[in-house]
C-alpha cells in the first residue's frame, strides 16, 4: 500500500508501562475519507494508542506513519487533528482567544476562528471565559480546534462523552463532513451504539489487542450471534412449553430460546404447533451491544 491509500498506517505496535503490557501487536490502517470506530472498555488502551499516533508517547516496538511521516514530526502534527478525552483549556481565556491561539499555531489565519465557533454552536459564548463553560461547551470548543485547517488525519478520543443526544448527532454530522473532505478519522469509544455503527469500519480492542477490524455487516455475520425468541406461555403451561422446545424458564410464565438464522423458521413452525399454550412470541435480534460483548469475549446477558 502506498501513502496515498493510507493516511494512517500502524503496524505491529507494542507498548508497556513498566512491566504491564498495554498494547500488543496492533496493526491498523485508515484510508483518506474513511471513518473507523475504535472500540474497547476503559483501560483497553485506546487513548494510549492515540497518544502514540500523536507522538506524545513513544512506542515500545512497531511502526506508525501519519500521512507518510513519523509520529510527532512537524509534518505529522500539521496533518493531524486531535480531540482529547478530557478536553481542558485555560480557564481565564475566552473561547475565541483560545481558538485564535490554536489557529496561529496551526498556521491558519485568525479570520477562520469566527465561522468555526459558529459551526460548533459557540458563537454566543465565544467571548465568555472558558472557566464558565459547561462540559458540553468545552467539548464543542475542542471540536472547533480539531476542525482548524484541512487535516489529513483526525483522532477523536471519546468525542461523545459529555454531549447531550442532539449534540451527538451534530458531532456525527461534523464527522461525516470531515470524511467527505478526505480526512481519515479514528474515533475512540467505549460503547457500540447507532452512532458508532455509522462508521465505515469497526476496530475492537480488548486488553491491548485488536480483536476485530471489519465492517459492521461482516462482524455481525462472522459472529453469527443467535436471535433470541421469548415466549409467554398460558397460565400453567410454561413447563409443558419448555419440555417441548427446550430453552430457559425466565420467570413464572416466560421461556427463552436462542436460535441461529437458519433455525429460525423451523422453530417458529414448532411454536405455532403448540397452539393455545403460547400466548405471545417476541423475537429479539442480536443488538450492537451483544455484538460488542461477543468480540470483547463476554457472554450475552
Amino acid at each position: 500500500m502506498t501513502d496515498r491509500d493510507t493516511a494512517l498506517a500502524i503496524a505491529g505496535l507494542d507498548k508497556s508501562f513498566g512491566r504491564t503490557q498495554v498494547l500488543g501487536g496492533i496493526t491498523l490502517n485508515v484510508a483518506p475519507g474513511e471513518r473507523v470506530a475504535l472500540l474497547g472498555h476503559n483501560g483497553a488502551g485506546k487513548s494510549t494508542l492515540i497518544k502514540m499516533i500523536l507522538g506524545l508517547i513513544r512506542p515500545g516496538a512497531g511502526s506508525i506513519r501519519v500521512a507518510g511521516n513519523a509520529p510527532g514530526s512537524a509534518a505529522a502534527r500539521a496533518a493531524t487533528a486531535y480531540l482529547p478525552e478530557q478536553v481542558a483549556f485555560h480557564r481565564s481565556l475566552t473561547g475565541r482567544e483560545q481558538l485564535t491561539m490554536f489557529a496561529r499555531l496551526a498556521g491558519e489565519h485568525p479570520k477562520t476562528v469566527a465561522p468555526l465557533l459558529e459551526r460548533v454552536g459557540l458563537a454566543l459564548a465565544a467571548d465568555g471565559r472558558i472557566g464558565t463553560y459547561s462540559k458540553g461547551m468545552r467539548q464543542r470548543l475542542g471540536l472547533a480546534q480539531a476542525l482548524l485547517g484541512r487535516r489529513r488525519v483526525a483522532l477523536l478520543d471519546e468525542p461523545t462523552s459529555g454531549l447531550d443526544p442532539i449534540s451527538r448527532h451534530d458531532l456525527y454530522a461534523v464527522i461525516d463532513e470531515m470524511a467527505a473532505n478526505g480526512t481519515a478519522l479514528l474515533i475512540a469509544s467505549h460503547a457500540l451504539t447507532e452512532l458508532e455503527a455509522r462508521t465505515d469500519r469497526i476496530a475492537i480492542m480488548a486488553k491491548g489487542r485488536l480483536v476485530a477490524d471489519d465492517s459492521l455487516g461482516n462482524l455481525a455475520r462472522a459472529a453469527a450471534l443467535p436471535t433470541r425468541i421469548r415466549l409467554t406461555a398460558r397460565e400453567g403451561a410454561a413447563e409443558a412449553v419448555q419440555a417441548e422446545l427446550g430453552g430457559r424458564r425466565v420467570n413464572g410464565r416466560a421461556v427463552e430460546l436462542d436460535c441461529t438464522t437458519e433455525q429460525k423458521m423451523a422453530q417458529l413452525a414448532r411454536i405455532s404447533g403448540l397452539g393455545e399454550a403460547v400466548r405471545d412470541v417476541e423475537m429479539v435480534p442480536p443488538s450492537l451491544e451483544d455484538l460488542y460483548r461477543h468480540y470483547c469475549g463476554e457472554n450475552r446477558q
Binding site: R77, Y82, Q86, S92, E97, M101, R104
Partner: protein, 274 residues
C-alpha cells in the same frame, strides 16, 4: 516559528494579567522597594552620598531575594501545571516545538517580571530622588540595578522551568522551586560564609571564593551592582570580593545563566510525556 512563539507569548501574557500575577508582582515589588528606601534613609548624611545611592544599595539586597522568588512563582507552573490540568497534551499536538513553546512562555513571563521590576524599583528610585536628590552616578546605578534584576529574574524563570519539567505535578514543582530558591539564594551564601570563617583569610578566601561567588547568579548580580558603582560598594561594604575578580566575571555569569538554564529546561521538557 516567530508566529508560533508570539501566539504562545500573547496567550501566556494574557493569562498572567488575568490571574493578576502582573498586578501582584508589581505591587509587591513597589511596596518593598519604597519601604526599604525610606527605612534606609538614616545613614545618608554620615556617608556623604545622596539618598538614591543608599536606596539602590538597599534595593540591591531586596532584589537578590525578591526577583528570584517572583520569577520562580511565575515559572514553576509553566509545564507541570499545564500537564496536570491537561492543557499541555493538546498544545503539543500542534506543529510547535517544545523549544518554541518554552521561548513563548519565557518571553511573556520575562515581560511580566520586567514590568514589575522596572515599575517597582523605578518608582522607589524616583521617590528617593525627589526626597533626597540624586547624581548622574546614582541614576546610572539605578538603571543598572533594574537591568540586572531583570536578568537575575530571567535566570530563575529558566530554573523554574527546569523544576517544572522535572516534576510530575504542580505541587511537586512548587516544592522544588522553593528548594531552588533556598539553596541558591540563602544556603549557598551561608555555606561560603562558613568556608570563609574556616579558611581565616587563606588561599581559599583570596583565589577560590570570588569565583564561587560569581558562579552563583544571585551573588553575580550583587557583585555586578556593587563593583560597578564605587559609592554603592561603599554603602553596602562589599567591595572586597569584587576587586579580586576581573570585571567581566559577574556579568558573564549573569548573562550565561539564563541561556544555559533555558537549554537545560528544554532538554528536560523534551522527555515529558503528557
Amino acid at each position: 516559528m516567530i508566529t508560533r512563539i508570539m501566539a504562545i507569548a500573547a496567550t501566556e501574557f494574557r493569562i498572567q494579567t488575568r490571574n493578576r500575577w502582573l498586578a501582584s508582582a508589581t505591587v509587591l515589588m513597589t511596596l518593598f522597594a519604597l519601604a526599604l528606601t525610606f527605612a534606609g534613609s538614616a545613614p545618608t548624611g554620615s556617608l556623604g552620598v545622596d539618598l538614591l545611592t543608599v536606596s539602590v544599595a538597599s534595593m540591591t539586597t531586596l532584589a537578590v531575594y525578591l526577583a528570584p522568588f517572583l520569577a520562580l512563582m511565575i515559572a514553576f507552573d509553566a509545564i507541570a501545571g499545564e500537564a496536570e490540568r491537561g492543557t499541555l497534551g493538546l498544545t503539543l499536538t500542534y506543529p510547535l516545538s517544545r523549544g518554541e513553546m518554552l521561548l513563548g512562555k519565557f518571553a511573556a513571563h520575562l515581560a511580566v517580571l520586567a514590568i514589575a521590576i522596572a515599575l517597582g524599583l523605578g518608582s522607589a528610585g524616583v521617590a528617593a530622588w525627589l526626597a533626597g536628590g540624586a547624581g548622574p552616578a546614582s541614576v546610572q546605578a539605578l538603571a543598572r540595578l533594574i537591568a540586572t534584576a531583570i536578568l537575575l529574574g530571567a535566570c530563575f524563570l529558566a530554573l523554574g522551568y527546569v523544576a517544572s519539567a522535572l516534576s510530575g505535578s504542580g505541587a511537586g514543582a512548587a516544592g522544588l522551586a522553593v528548594a531552588l530558591w533556598l539553596v541558591l539564594v540563602v544556603l549557598y551564601d551561608l555555606g561560603l560564609l562558613g568556608a570563609l570563617v574556616m579558611d581565616a583569610g587563606g588561599g581559599f578566601t583570596k583565589h577560590v571564593f570570588p569565583w564561587l561567588l560569581a558562579l552563583n547568579p544571585a551573588d553575580a548580580f550583587r557583585l555586578w551592582n556593587v563593583s560597578a558603582a564605587q559609592e554603592v560598594a561603599l554603602v553596602s561594604g562589599m567591595a572586597g570580593a569584587g576587586e579580586a575578580l576581573p570585571g567581566w566575571a559577574a556579568p558573564l555569569s549573569l548573562l550565561l545563566w539564563p541561556v544555559l538554564a533555558l537549554a537545560l529546561a528544554r532538554t528536560v521538557f523534551e522527555r515529558v510525556e503528557p
